[in-house]
């Protein structure tokens, strides 16, 4: 359904992505793991065209695109079907929670206001934020802001939602409420690509895990297999280190 092949990206002389392949099927939850600096976020930003890839191919719902040559109109068309959740939420500071969730509908898709509001209220209730509909982002906690941001991302009925470390800016207590919302989305059959450091979430919710290191995909496997029987030495090393941290946390 969404596939990116041979994705390359450099910033100056620093090559961040060295031929990444990633594939998501409908209804699938893909967790992208890897230590900081492995290129996970850059991969996601290239996939949503916030960064222009040096080269790469995208296949979306059967259509092929050359990522380095893609035009503004095609990018806009593709974005109409993709939802995106940022690490730093990026809710529009000048709009209420409701206004944020409505914006993709009423502004970008010209959905009539009353209908957009109805959908937006549904979405807010899905993330448990309906009672804060009239609050501005500055009046919400980080966890609440991220839940509103998720509502905004799904309000436009995207084919796939990309999550860029959605809980990294949150303290552990607030992380839980965001992960719960994401878990519910996954159960409802939403197609999701989640760049994350939450090993437990990946283990419980993901169908597939992609492990990145130094700009390449080291290992890609069904979640169960990835955690129980990793094939690569680097994966094993990463799991040992992060899972040991995890047991320390308890």
């Amino acid at each position: 359904m969404l596939e990116v092949k041979n994705l390359y990206k450099s910033f100056g002389s620093n090559q961040v992505l060295k031929g990444i392949d990633i594939k998501v099927d409908r209804g699938e939850v893909v967790a992208v793991l890897g230590s900081s600096g492995s290129g996970k976020t850059t991969m996601l930003r290239c996939t949503s065209f916030l960064e222009k890839a040096d080269s790469g191919e995208m296949i979306f719902d059967g259509s092929h695109y050359e990522m380095e040559k893609i035009g503004r109109r095609e990018i806009h068309q593709l974005r109409m079907h993709i939802g995106f959740v940022f690490q730093s939420f990026n809710l529009f500071a000048n709009r209420t929670a409701l206004g944020n969730v409505m914006s993709g509908l009423s502004i970008a898709r010209k959905v009539p206001k009353s209908e957009a509001e109805k959908i937006a209220r549904e979405m807010l209730s899905r993330v448990g934020m309906l009672n804060r509909a009239d609050y501005y982002p500055a009046q919400l906690s980080g966890g609440q802001q991220q839940r509103v941001a998720i509502a905004r991302a799904i309000a436009t009925n995207p084919v796939v939602v990309l999550f860029d470390e959605p809980t990294s800016a949150l303290d552990p207590e607030l992380t839980g409420e965001v992960l719960d919302v994401m878990k519910k989305l996954a159960e409802d059959g939403m197609t999701m690509v989640v760049v994350t450091h939450e090993m437990q979430f990946a283990q419980e919710v993901a169908d597939k895990v992609v492990f990145m290191d130094k700009g390449v995909v080291v290992e890609e496997a069904p979640a169960k297999q990835f955690f129980s029987a990793p094939k690569q030495e680097r994966t094993l090393q990463f799991l040992r280190r992060t899972m040991r941290d995890y047991t320390y946390n308890i």
Binding site: F86, F92, N94, S103, A108, Q139, T156
Partner: protein, 232 residues
């Protein structure tokens, strides 16, 4: 102070104030409006890095910030007729002040737009907004409160700069004071009186700024929070 001087000051007060109200204020508002439109256009061209227009905008700002306002005023009113462009004093002043202010405020607006975090436009692009939609619905509404104090600053500056229009035959506040000073031979008293009237205008504007700034800010958490809970 002699009785004669007091009488002159009292008699002249409305004679200076009325041109102030009839000419200085309309001249200020018209020039500011022209300047704002020019500034917004120049700022948007620079932020979007529109090829060619971007260079033109930079040259425009360079010229209008780099030459004296009085010289610009003279070129437009006394100079252009030589090229066959005849303008009345008032429109000439509005054009000169407006173009000059446009150059300064372009920089104010550009920096305010750039002060809005990049994440805001990224998020807007990813919910499917086009560039104009992003500007109108997300970036400009956030840039405006940032730009407001320096914009108002330039408005207050403009009130006083309009006195330069007296040099191109516009009968405004300062022209009136000059005429009365020449007639009564009391330049010190009358120019001080003119200064006081300018000060009154600017005091009113300063108060207006404080009031508007309070109205303008949408995200004072406590206040809004109270409103929101009351609505619940």
């Amino acid at each position: 102070m002699s009785d004669r001087l007091i009488k002159i000051l009292i008699d002249s007060f409305p004679k200076i104030l009325i041109p102030g109200l009839r000419m200085t204020i309309p001249l200020t508002l018209a020039s500011f409006a022209v300047g704002f439109v020019i500034a917004l256009a120049l700022a948007l061209i620079q932020v979007a890095k529109v090829p060619v227009l971007n260079q033109i905008a930079k040259i425009y700002i360079w010229i209008f910030r780099g030459t004296p306002l009085l010289v610009q005023l003279f070129i437009i009113f006394f100079g252009l007729p030589g090229l066959g462009v005849m303008l009345d004093a008032f429109p000439a002043a509005v054009i000169a002040f407006g173009m000059n202010l446009g150059a300064y405020n372009a920089e104010v607006l550009r920096s305010s737009i750039q002060a809005v975090p990049a994440g805001q436009s990224e998020a807007a692009a990813l919910v499917g907004m086009t560039y104009p939609q992003i500007m109108i619905h997300v970036v400009l509404p956030q840039a405006f409160p940032i730009a407001f104090p320096p914009l108002f600053n330039s408005l207050i500056g403009l009130v006083k700069d309009t006195s330069l229009a007296s040099s191109i035959t516009v009968i405004e506040l300062f022209t009136a004071a000059q005429q009365i000073a020449a007639r009564t031979f009391e330049p010190f008293a009358l120019y001080c009186e003119a200064a006081v009237i300018y000060l009154i205008f600017c005091t009113v504007l300063t108060a207006l700024q404080g009031w508007l700034e309070k109205k303008l800010v949408w995200k004072t958490p406590e206040e809004k929070m109270v409103g929101a809970t009351a609505a619940d």
